[in-house]
C-alpha cells in the first residue's frame, strides 16, 4: 500500500476528521429512536457517513490506476494577509467605524499582491472610501458607525 494520489489522500483525511468531529459532538445530544428522532440522530448518521466516505477516499488514493499527484504547496502569504485583513475589518468596524476599517482592509490586503505599489493603493483607498460612502452610507443606508465614536459629533 502506497499513497499515489496525495490530493485524494489528504481530502480523505479531512473528511475523516470532520466526520468524526461532528459524530463525537452529536453524541452529546439526545439520539432518540428512529420513530422519535432526537436532535443528535441525523447529524450522527451524517457524521459517520462522512467519516466512512473519508476512509473510502483514503483507500482509493492508494489504487494503482491513480496517476501520481502531489499537493501544491500552500500560499501562506496571501492566505494569512487576506484573511487577517478581513478579520481586522470585522474587529475594527464596530469600534473605529467604516472609514478606518475600510482603509485598513484595502491597505493591508493590497500587500498580498506580488505587485504592490503604495501610491496606487493610497489612491485606491481614497476612491473606495468615497464610493463606500456614496453606496453604503447614502445609497443603501447600512447601519454602521462611519467615524470612530470618539470624534463623532
Amino acid at each position: 500500500m502506497r499513497i499515489r494520489n496525495h490530493r485524494d489522500f489528504w481530502s480523505g483525511v479531512l473528511f475523516l476528521v470532520l466526520g468524526s468531529a461532528f459524530a463525537v459532538f452529536s453524541s452529546a445530544y439526545q439520539l432518540g429512536t428512529p420513530a422519535r428522532m432526537g436532535p443528535g440522530f441525523f447529524p450522527m448518521m451524517l457524521g459517520v457517513l462522512l467519516a466512512l466516505l473519508g476512509v473510502a477516499t483514503i483507500w482509493m488514493s492508494t489504487a494503482r490506476t491513480n496517476p501520481e499527484t502531489g499537493v501544491e504547496r500552500i500560499g501562506w502569504r496571501p492566505l494569512i494577509v487576506i484573511l487577517g485583513s478581513v478579520a481586522l475589518f470585522a474587529l475594527l468596524l464596530p469600534r473605529l467605524g467604516m472609514v478606518v476599517s475600510v482603509a485598513v482592509l484595502i491597505g493591508l490586503s493590497a500587500i498580498a499582491s506580488h505587485e504592490f505599489r503604495w501610491k496606487e493603493t493610497l489612491l485606491e483607498i481614497v476612491v473606495l472610501l468615497v464610493l463606500s460612502w456614496l453606496v453604503f452610507v447614502k445609497g443603501l443606508e447600512l447601519q454602521f458607525p462611519v467615524w470612530p465614536t470618539l470624534f463623532s459629533p
Binding site: 428522532m37 441525523f42 451524517l46 482509493m60 496571501p78 487576506i82 478579520a87 485606491e124 443603501l140 447600512l142
Partner: protein, 503 residues
C-alpha cells in the same frame, strides 16, 4: 389558454416600474461584476445576495437575483471571449473558439452572437418553464415526507454524478454541506446544535457568508499565488454585428444548443456545464469543416452559449416546482427565497402566483435587457477588463465584507466567512469541488425534517422508503445512477467527456 393567462399575470407583475428597474439593476450589476476576471457567477451572486435581503417585496428580490444570474453568466462569457479566462466551467468551451475569434480581430461578432444565442435560448426556455412547471408541480403535490426525502437523495446524487471529478469526494462534500446545515437550533427539540455557546450560531451559519468564503475569498487567495498574465483586447472592437454568413452559420447551432440545453438543464447537476460541452462536441462532429473548430469557428461559440443559457434557465424548473436546487446557483436562489419566508416547492405556484409567474416572465425581460444592454456597453466591459487584478481584489474583498456585514447588520457574519475561506482554499488545493457542499447546506435541515416526519408516520420502520412506490422509484433511480457511473466502461467515457476542459 391557461398558459396565456398565467403569462399575462406574469407580465403584469414583472412589468411594474419597480420590478423592471430592479431587474435592470440586477442585470447590470451581475454583468459588471461577472465581467471581472476570476469571479464566476457563483461568487458574483454570493456577493450580491445580501442586497436582495434588504428588499421588502420578495418578488422584486427574486427578479433582481435572477437578473444578477443572467448578467453574471453573460459577463463570464465576455471575459472568456476577450481574455481567455473562463469564470466558471460552463464558459470554458466559449474560450476555445471565442478567444480565437477575438484574436483574429472579430471580438464583436463573437460577443454579439453569444448574446443573440443566449436570448433565443432564454426565450425558448422561458416558454418551456411556463409549460412544464404546472404539471410537474401537480406530481409534487402527491408527495409525502418519504417521497420528499427520497427526491432529495436522488437530487443530491444526480448532482454529484453529473458533476465532474471524483464521485466519492463529491458525495463527501454533499454530506459535509448537510452537516454544516445542522448547525443552529433544532426546530423539534429547541436544542442549539454545534453552536459551542456562541449565541449568533443558534440561528445557523448564514448561507451567503459561507458562499462568499468558499467561492469569493477562496478564489482571491488562490489567484494571488500566481503572477497574472492576461492579454486583453484593448484595440477597438470594430464591427459588432455578425455578417450575414456568420448569422446563417450560427442559426442551426443555436437551435440545437437550445434544445440540448433545455433538456439537460432540467436534470440535476452541472446542467449548464454538461450542455455546453455536449453542444460543442456535437457541432464539431456534424460540421463539414471540423478543422475550423478551435481556430475561431462561430458555430463553436453560438451553440454552446445557447445551450449554456437554456440549461441555466430550465434548471429553475426543479427548483420552482419541487423545491430541489439542482446546482449551486439554484441553492443560492433557494436561500434568497427562504430569507423572505418563501419555502420553494409546488405550493409557491398556488399560494404566490404573481411571484411565480412574475419571476418566469422577468427571465425573458432580463434576457432582452442583456442584449440591449451589452452590445452598446461592450466598450466599457473591455475597459474594466484592463484593470489589473492587484487593484480589483481589494475592492472585491471590501464588497464581500460589507455584504456579509449587511446580512444581519453584525460583524459576526464577516467572521464566519474566514473558516469557510480556509476550507474553500484547501478544497481547491485538494481537487474537491465546493459546489456540492452548497447544495447539501441548503437542503440539510429540510432533509432532516422530512426524514423525521416519514419515520414518525411509519413508526420507526425504515422500509417506508422502499414500500411506497413513488419513493421506491426515486431511490431506485438514484441507485441505478450510482451503479452506472461506477461501471468501468461508463467511468472512462465520463472522464473523456470532461477531459477537454483540463486540456
Amino acid at each position: 389558454m391557461e398558459l396565456l393567462s398565467h403569462l399575462a399575470l406574469g407580465f403584469a407583475t414583472a412589468l411594474t416600474l419597480e420590478n423592471v428597474l430592479w431587474c435592470f439593476v440586477g442585470v447590470l450589476l451581475g454583468t459588471l461584476i461577472g465581467v471581472l476576471p476570476g469571479l464566476g457567477p457563483l461568487a458574483t451572486i454570493a456577493m450580491l445576495l445580501p442586497i436582495t435581503y434588504q428588499m421588502s417585496d420578495p418578488t422584486t428580490a427574486l427578479i433582481m437575483l435572477a437578473g444578477i444570474y443572467y448578467g453574471a453568466q453573460y459577463g463570464g462569457s465576455t471575459t472568456a471571449i476577450l481574455v481567455n479566462l473562463p469564470g466558471e466551467t460552463s464558459s470554458v468551451v466559449t474560450t476555445l473558439d471565442g478567444y480565437q475569434m477575438a484574436r483574429k480581430g472579430r471580438p464583436g461578432p463573437a460577443l454579439s452572437i453569444a448574446a443573440i444565442g443566449s436570448f433565443f435560448a432564454g426565450t425558448v426556455a422561458t416558454l418551456l418553464i411556463a409549460g412544464f412547471a404546472p404539471p410537474l408541480a401537480e406530481i409534487a403535490f402527491k408527495f409525502g415526507p418519504a417521497e420528499y426525502f427520497s427526491l432529495m437523495v436522488l437530487g443530491l446524487i444526480a448532482a454529484v454524478v453529473l458533476a465532474h471529478g471524483s464521485i466519492v469526494k463529491a458525495l463527501a462534500m454533499v454530506v459535509l454541506g448537510l452537516l454544516v446545515g445542522m448547525i443552529g437550533t433544532d426546530v423539534n427539540s429547541g436544542v442549539a446544535r454545534f453552536s459551542f455557546g456562541i449565541p449568533e450560531l443558534t440561528d445557523g451559519v448564514s448561507f451567503a457568508a459561507v458562499a462568499m468564503g468558499l467561492f469569493g475569498f477562496g478564489e482571491i487567495i488562490a489567484n494571488l499565488e500566481h503572477r497574472e498574465d492576461r492579454e486583453v483586447f484593448t484595440r477597438r472592437v470594430g464591427r459588432l454585428l455578425p455578417s450575414r454568413d456568420e448569422l446563417k452559420a450560427s442559426l442551426a447551432p443555436i437551435v440545437r444548443g437550445t434544445a440540448l440545453g433545455s433538456f439537460l438543464g432540467i436534470l440535476p447537476g452541472g446542467g449548464a456545464v454538461l450542455s455546453s460541452f455536449t453542444s460543442y462536441a456535437i457541432e464539431k462532429k456534424i460540421s463539414r469543416t471540423p478543422e475550423r473548430f478551435g481556430k475561431g469557428a462561430i458555430e463553436g461559440v453560438a451553440g454552446p452559449e445557447a445551450a449554456n443559457n437554456a440549461g441555466a434557465q430550465t434548471s429553475f424548473i426543479p427548483m420552482l416546482t419541487l423545491g430541489i436546487p439542482t446546482n449551486a446557483v439554484m441553492a443560492l436562489m433557494v436561500a434568497g427565497m427562504m430569507i423572505h419566508n418563501i419555502q420553494p416547492g409546488p405550493q409557491v405556484m398556488t399560494s404566490n402566483p404573481s411571484l411565480f409567474w412574475g419571476l418566469i416572465t422577468s427571465m425573458w425581460i432580463g434576457n432582452a435587457m442583456l442584449v440591449v444592454l451589452n452590445l452598446p456597453l461592450i466598450g466599457i466591459w473591455i475597459k474594466l477588463l484592463t484593470v489589473p487584478y492587484r487593484i480589483l481584489y481589494p475592492a472585491i474583498l471590501l464588497f464581500c465584507c460589507v455584504g456579509a456585514y449587511s446580512i444581519n447588520n453584525n460583524v459576526f457574519d464577516v467572521y464566519v466567512t474566514i473558516p469557510f475561506a480556509i476550507l474553500g482554499y484547501l478544497f481547491r488545493k485538494l481537487d474537491c469541488e465546493p459546489a456540492p457542499m452548497l447544495l447539501g447546506l441548503v437542503l440539510g435541515s429540510l432533509m432532516e425534517e422530512y426524514l423525521r416526519r416519514a419515520m414518525t408516520i411509519s413508526r420507526g420502520d425504515w422500509s417506508v422508503f422502499v414500500t411506497r412506490p413513488l419513493s421506491a422509484t426515486l431511490l431506485a433511480i438514484a441507485v441505478v445512477l450510482l451503479v452506472i457511473v461506477f461501471l468501468p466502461a461508463v467511468a472512462k467515457k465520463r472522464d473523456e467527456a470532461f477531459a477537454e476542459e483540463e486540456s
